[in-house]
């Protein structure tokens, strides 16, 4: 039944003007903030919920439905409306909400419906105190989820109209990875992707014997980089991607999601500007993140004689590159396009000011830890 079908009878019952209006999210937000005291319910601003009510200057607005960009409202022009009447309308619209969601879901293709069910189940396990780690039988979709697959977690940051749909992303992934892809929407803009392990197999590996044997981690990183490049340039723009070791989705769904989420959080926290996050590259970060904030700050204060040295972007990028290149002076100088002596001068300066010589293993470890801690505490 469309809104116009029941608008007239409602108007007749209430005996006052009733209109169906549509407002943008910005207009809705203004309305909410201007009438905060009058708003029914105890929430601060959040997404509008069907049946939610706002009153101002003798007018009442009740949410009929909403999307990410707009909200449809019932506008009732009467100050004489009884509270029970208003609550009755709200209740009816709330009832309608559940039915609508079910109808919406029923209209989706089977793959997306199953993926949504999986997403809901994962979400429940993540919120539960005692999560189940194996998928229940009714969600395993045949034997497919028992095979090993490569898990990826994708987080996009686009707002408003740029957000993409399940169908669009799934189609893209199928073109890129082959048909053996499982896409599960988790939270808004967060997607769990399972790709086939065949992506790691190289049919013509005999053709280039001179190449060094690639480790599994190298191959996973390459796939992650390629997927990120494709998503950034062929889909929606910048996004964060984490990839982990292959596992069976049926058994590792929850654990893998926890690991990948933690990886993206650690990567974004400790390595701003990096978009591909690999769990095996964030071991130290994981350890440091588990130290309470107060203790981290205290340690930094005690170990840094000259904190200002670490504020200098030149020193930060020098040390970052130096550690990335395994403390190799020549390679670091080459990468930074500076003379070897310039690099040595910078390292000597650091030694002079802090007493730490990063060419010594012990001091290098300390500086690396200080640098990581400094990056996160600076932003707090």
């Amino acid at each position: 039944m469309s809104t116009t079908d029941w608008l007239k009878p409602l108007q007749h019952i209430l005996n006052c003007p009733v209109h169906a209006v549509s407002k943008s999210m910005a207009e809705w937000s203004d309305l909410v903030s201007n009438t905060a005291a009058m708003r029914q319910g105890d929430q601060k601003f959040s997404s509008p919920i069907e049946g939610e009510r706002i009153e101002k200057d003798g007018r009442t607005w009740i949410v009929i439905a909403s999307t990410e960009y707009a909200v449809d409202l019932l506008e009732i022009e009467s100050s004489s409306l009884q509270t029970t009447e208003k609550e009755l309308i709200s209740w009816t619209l709330q009832l309608n909400r559940g039915t609508l969601a079910e109808k919406k879901r029923a209209a989706l293709p089977e793959t997306e419906r199953n993926a949504l069910k999986l997403g809901d189940w994962i979400q429940k396990q993540l919120e539960s105190d005692e999560p189940a780690y194996s998928l229940p039988d009714h969600l395993t979709v045949g034997s497919r989820l028992f095979n090993e697959m490569i898990p990826f977690l994708l987080v996009t940051e686009q707002s408003g109209t740029k957000q993409a749909t399940y169908t669009e992303l799934e189609k893209l992934l199928r073109s890129f990875m082959s048909d053996d892809v499982l896409l599960i929407p988790l939270k808004s803009q967060e997607w769990l992707i399972w790709g086939s392990v065949s992506l790691l197999k190289d049919e013509d590996s005999d053709a280039f014997d001179e190449q060094e044997e690639e480790t599994l981690e190298d191959s996973l990183a390459s796939i992650g980089l390629g997927l990120h490049e494709m998503l950034a340039s062929e889909w929606i723009g910048e996004c964060h991607l984490a990839v982990a070791h292959p596992t069976s989705p049926a058994k590792g769904m929850v654990e893998t999601t926890i690991l990948l989420r933690e990886t993206i959080n650690l990567g974004r926290k400790f390595h701003v500007g990096t978009n591909i996050h690999l769990p095996w590259m964030l071991q130290l970060e994981r350890l440091l993140n588990s130290i309470p904030e107060a203790q981290r700050s205290k340690y930094l204060e005690q170990s840094l004689k000259r904190a200002d040295l670490f504020v200098e972007s030149e020193m930060l990028s020098t040390l970052d590159t130096f550690f990335t290149l395994d403390c190799n002076v020549s390679e670091t100088a080459k990468k930074l396009y500076i003379h070897r002596n310039t690099l040595l001068y910078r390292l000597d300066k650091l030694k002079q000011e802090t007493g730490l010589d990063v060419r010594q293993f012990r001091d290098a470890v300390l500086v690396k830890i200080i640098l990581l801690l400094y990056k996160v505490t600076k932003r707090n």
Binding site: Q211, S222, G237
Partner: protein, 373 residues
């Protein structure tokens, strides 16, 4: 093909007060090769990423052709990108890597094949089409990344330090190839680099950036010969321009620039400008490029009023030319570029004449070039 227009573009990251890119205005013409250059953190890559659609624009308008594209997804901007950290798709061979974007855009198989083979021919990678990326060298991978961009026949190429992962020799070779390629394809190109040699040799115009602000936009010649401030003057040119802090004084009917170990006459044309702008008696910074310090007897004879004495700390002979690291001219080391056959050695004293017609004078407070403002 199309031009690109940036109008009052800003980039502010959440939680920071300072903008990473401030009020960038650029009108990039169709088929132009524009280079964004500056030190790391100057905002050049952020600007390019906003054009690419990888970063949201905080404020301002971006047009590709006549179309406002602020809210258009990267894939719909009709651009092709090649980045420093370009990643080929490891599970696809070179042909599939190049064809993927076209396949997504539903091109016919025959069209895809034609475009891929043509691009492969241009880039000289026809023999590699069946290979997987890990069987390629760095230079070959770079060519494939370029090929992936070329086959799209986009309105604009965006390149962010695409050569920085290559060794020096290959970089020089690819530099020339990219220049040739973009001329041949007649595609508007925006190229980011921190390397001023790449900027000078490749760009029709160069935009020098620092701390998120555009310092100067001009042709390579214009930037080299008429830098608007000390930053641009020091950034463009290798070895860098020498800066000598001193003051201007009238003496015997001529205007003289005086600094530690320096007392030289300013040519009348420049003197007139300095007088009219009220710089007499004030402190200024003199900028002189290494090639504008001369030790040839002919020049010394012709310019007796601009001669300085200096000690050679180090003489680096590169064969065709020689860099002299000098002290005694101002307070800092000054570099002179002289003929490789001059025979100057470490530790000796030399007489040099400054080519005062080529010098720049900068306001000490604003650091702006007095003759260009």
């Amino acid at each position: 093909m199309a031009g690109v227009r940036l109008e009052g573009i800003y980039k502010k990251y959440p939680g920071t007060d300072k903008a990473s890119v401030t009020d960038v205005n650029l009108d990039i013409k169709d088929k132009e090769f524009l280079v964004l250059v500056g030190p790391s953190g100057c905002g050049k890559s952020t600007t390019l990423r906003m054009i690419a659609g990888l970063e949201e624009i905080s404020e301002g308008k971006l047009f590709i052709g006549d179309r406002l594209v602020n809210d258009v997804a990267p894939k719909d901007r009709d651009i092709a990108m090649v980045f420093q950290s370009y990643a080929l798709y490891p599970h696809m061979n070179v042909y599939q890597n190049m064809a993927f974007g076209l396949k997504l855009r539903k091109f016919k198989k025959a069209d895809i094949d034609k475009r891929v083979r043509e691009a492969a021919k241009i880039l000289d990678i026809e023999h590699l089409l069946d290979r997987k990326p890990k069987a390629l060298s760095g230079g070959q991978r770079q060519r494939v990344a370029l090929g992936r961009a070329i086959v799209r026949e986009p309105q604009v190429f965006l390149m962010d330090e695409p050569l920085s992962n290559l060794d020096a020799k290959l970089r020089g070779q690819m530099r020339a190839e990219i220049s040739k390629l973009t001329k041949r394809l007649e595609t508007t190109t925006i190229y980011v680099t921190h390397d001023q040699i790449e900027a000078m040799t490749m760009g029709d115009r160069i935009v020098v950036m620092k701390d998120g602000f555009i310092q100067q936009t001009a042709s390579p010649e214009e930037l080299y010969n008429h830098p608007v401030n000390i930053f641009v003057a020091g950034f463009i040119g290798a070895p860098s321009m020498n800066f000598i802090s001193g003051s201007l004084a009238e003496q015997g009917g001529a205007l003289r620039f005086k600094a530690s170990g320096v007392d030289v006459v300013v040519p009348e044309g420049k003197a007139a400008v300095l007088r009219s702008k009220g710089y007499i008696g004030k402190e200024v910074i003199l900028g002189i490029r290494p090639e504008d310090l001369h030790e040839e007897p002919v020049f010394l004879e012709a310019s007796p009023q601009t001669i300085v004495n200096a000690n050679v700390e180090v003489a680096e002979n590169l064969g065709h030319e020689m860099y002299l690291y000098l002290n005694g001219i101002g307070t800092d080391t000054v570099i002179a570029r002289v003929d490789g056959r001059s025979g100057v050695r470490d530790g000796v004293s030399v007489k040099l004449a400054l080519d005062m017609n080529k010098v720049h004078l900068f306001d000490k407070a604003t650091e702006l070039n007095i003759f260009e403002t």
